[in-house]
């Protein structure tokens, strides 16, 4: 998984005088006027090689492949927009888009709400590194590990969670086996893994709000609840937007947990976009179609990032 998006700039940083980055272009005493092009080329040569070979060229090639018919044998054959026309009529694609969206929405709501709550708790009562470390632990585990751990704990027959559910008198839940529960379960696993991490990001944002703001509010007689809604939340906006962008972009690319637990099933319930791409490209050797699907995923992510940054003004802070 990847991603973000943020130029060094405001954001989490609250007020620390003039930004250092402004200085970077200024020639300073020891540097020659003509610039350091030659030496710079040497310094970036390895990174540039990696960038060209494994980022830029594949991006262009991926777009090209999306207009071809290509099973790994033979050469790609140009077929214009036919892959995209097929996608528009592909019920499995629309299903994938639907279940992925469901997954994304559950993640946004659950993860952001829980993380915000946790961050506030940490900020108010406990700033100890040990507590933050404990909450961060799940995030350090591989998706595969998180998936298997919950696959066991949520097992229908002898999983501990179902055992607990039964003790409360409710019927057992087929977390992975029922079409209705499969996606929420995947989202729960992801929320478990990311909750602490997201809380820490928000916590850092909370720490950046100067105390003077709260003091002023309290002098004006603001109650805790209204201080939260009118001051804390608006000042947290850049962090919350960042968290949203990261959550949404990451969630759209869900793959690992699905691949190890349900493999797209039951029926098509967890055939999320990336898993569908993987199946078309690598199981069915249909690289052209897989690439076209990947282009669409790419476009969706770009759009989401653009909307969130643009309309939520995630790159501006109100603290300056």
């Amino acid at each position: 998984m990847t991603t973000l998006t943020k130029q060094p700039g405001p954001g989490l940083s609250a007020s620390s005088g003039p930004r250092k980055s402004r200085k970077r272009g200024k020639p300073s005493a020891g540097f020659r006027g003509i610039g350091d092009l030659k030496i710079a080329l040497l310094f970036i040569a390895p990174a540039m090689l990696g960038f060209l070979l494994f980022y830029l060229v594949p991006t262009v090639r991926g777009i090209y492949l999306s207009f071809t018919e290509y099973s790994i044998l033979g050469d790609p054959e140009w077929i214009g927009t036919r892959n995209y026309e097929r996608i528009a009529k592909d019920p499995l694609f629309w299903n994938a888009l639907g279940v992925t969206s469901e997954y994304v929405v559950i993640n946004i709501v659950l993860q952001t709400a829980l993380a915000l709550g946790l961050a506030i708790l940490m900020h108010r009562v406990a700033k100890s590194t040990l507590i933050r470390g404990a909450l961060l632990l799940p995030y350090l585990m591989a998706n595969v590990i998180a998936a298997l751990l919950w696959f066991w704990m949520l097992d229908y027959q002898i999983g501990i969670i179902n055992q607990l559910i039964e003790w409360t008198g409710l019927p057992r839940v087929a977390f992975f086996g029922s079409e209705q529960w499969a996606i929420p379960t995947q989202a729960l696993i992801n929320t478990w893994r990311h909750m602490g991490y997201t809380a820490l990001l928000i916590f850092a944002g909370l720490q950046a709000i100067p105390n003077s703001v709260y003091e002023a509010a309290s002098i004006d007689g603001s109650k805790a609840v209204s201080t939260f809604w009118r001051i804390t939340l608006p000042l947290l906006r850049p962090v919350l937007v960042l968290v949203l962008v990261v959550t949404v972009i990451g969630s759209f690319q869900v793959f690992d947990t699905v691949a190890v637990t349900t493999a797209g099933g039951p029926v098509n319930a967890t055939r999320v976009l990336q898993y569908y791409i993987y199946q078309r490209a690598f199981n069915e050797q249909d690289f052209g179609y897989g690439s076209a699907l990947a282009v669409i995923l790419f476009l969706i992510l770009a759009l989401v990032a653009f909307i969130q940054m643009k309309f939520l003004r995630g790159n501006q802070s109100d603290l300056d």
Binding site: K20, A29, V144, F282
Partner: protein, 316 residues
């Protein structure tokens, strides 16, 4: 996931004492009690599953069903770990509820270690060099090239994974360590961003002094800049290593044979080899624990560094 936030710039920490209803002195502060209770629940949810993994790994498969809620291992037994490391014969494994298929986590552990170490060393080193050029050297087109590099962070990995797979295949490097590490070896956009942030904020004085002494950029970089950057490099290496250790998708595509399999992929295979009937839960949990152990050790040693890197310095 790679996430960036601005580096440590402000956010002075002050104890939150006044104004907070949670910290006022009262004989019994019920708000504070509720806050601590909720926090305790969150910690339990984060940490207890690991206990459950350990408890299951030390159990015997046959006894799990009958003792599905006992806190102690059901019929304590190290067989699961033996199975994971290939120390049991197929017959023994099957008798204990394993699949009997050969599985060797030593090999996967070794592969994961190689994969993560090589990519971390390469990416951190080459990215630092590039970051230095982006932060400290003056050259035409610098900011444009940097934006281009940063832009790659927006491209979802699956998008480049398809063509990259074809490239590695055409080079004949499928199922080789070289094929596994190549795409990560020269840089990661995150590493460049992270190191550039640090170099931008580093004092120029020492560099300039060295320059007046007639030292050239390469010498300055290796003898002055890099030693001064030891702390952020350590953080970056730690974050990169853990990220690589957890990587699944790319190794799944490129390392499919027993010899080239890394731990995460091995875990998936182990899970899919589940015998008919009940899965080999204790074996699976032992394997999970083995895979998690290196990260747990790193976390035990460098926990503070890792925790503090989030949100403050730039994040992973």
């Amino acid at each position: 996931m790679t996430t960036l936030t601005s580096p440590k710039t402000g956010g002075r920490r002050r104890p939150f004492t006044r104004n907070s209803p949670f910290t006022r002195n009262r004989p019994f502060n019920w708000r504070r009690t509720i806050a601590w209770t909720l926090l305790a629940i969150a910690i339990a949810v984060s940490v207890l599953p690991f206990f459950w993994v350990l408890r299951t790994a030390l159990s015997t498969n046959g006894s799990l069903a009958a003792n599905s809620a006992s806190l102690l291992p059901a019929d304590f037994n190290l067989g699961a770990f033996k199975r994971v490391f290939g120390l049991q014969t197929a017959a023994e494994a099957i008798a204990e509820g394993g699949s009997g298929a050969s599985i060797n986590f030593w090999q996967y552990l070794w592969n994961s270690l190689l994969f993560s170490s090589i990519t971390t060393a390469g990416a951190v080193f080459f990215s630092s060099m590039a970051a230095y050029a982006f932060a400290r050297l003056r050259w035409k087109g610098r900011d444009g090239v940097f934006s281009l590099f940063l832009g790659t962070m927006l491209v979802p990995p699956i998008f480049t994974a398809l063509p990259n797979f074809l490239l590695i295949k055409n080079l004949g490097l499928l199922n080789s360590m070289l094929g596994l590490v190549l795409p990560y070896l020269f840089m990661t956009p995150f590493a460049i961003f992270f190191m550039r942030q640090f170099f931008l904020n580093m004092s120029r004085e020492v560099e300039e002094a060295a320059m007046l002494d007639g030292a050239k950029h390469f010498r300055i970089f290796f003898q002055v800049v890099m030693p001064n950057a030891a702390a952020p490099i350590a953080t970056l290496a730690l974050l990169t290593f853990m990220g690589q250790w957890n990587e699944y998708f790319w190794p799944l595509l490129v390392g499919t044979t027993e010899e080239a399999r890394v731990l995460t992929v091995g875990l998936g295979v182990f899970k899919s080899q589940s015998p008919q009937g009940a899965p080999d839960w204790s074996g699976l949990m032992a394997a999970t624990l083995v895979s998690a152990t290196p990260v747990l050790i790193l976390f035990a040693i460098f926990g503070k560094k890792i925790v503090n890197s989030i949100g403050f310095n730039g994040t992973k």
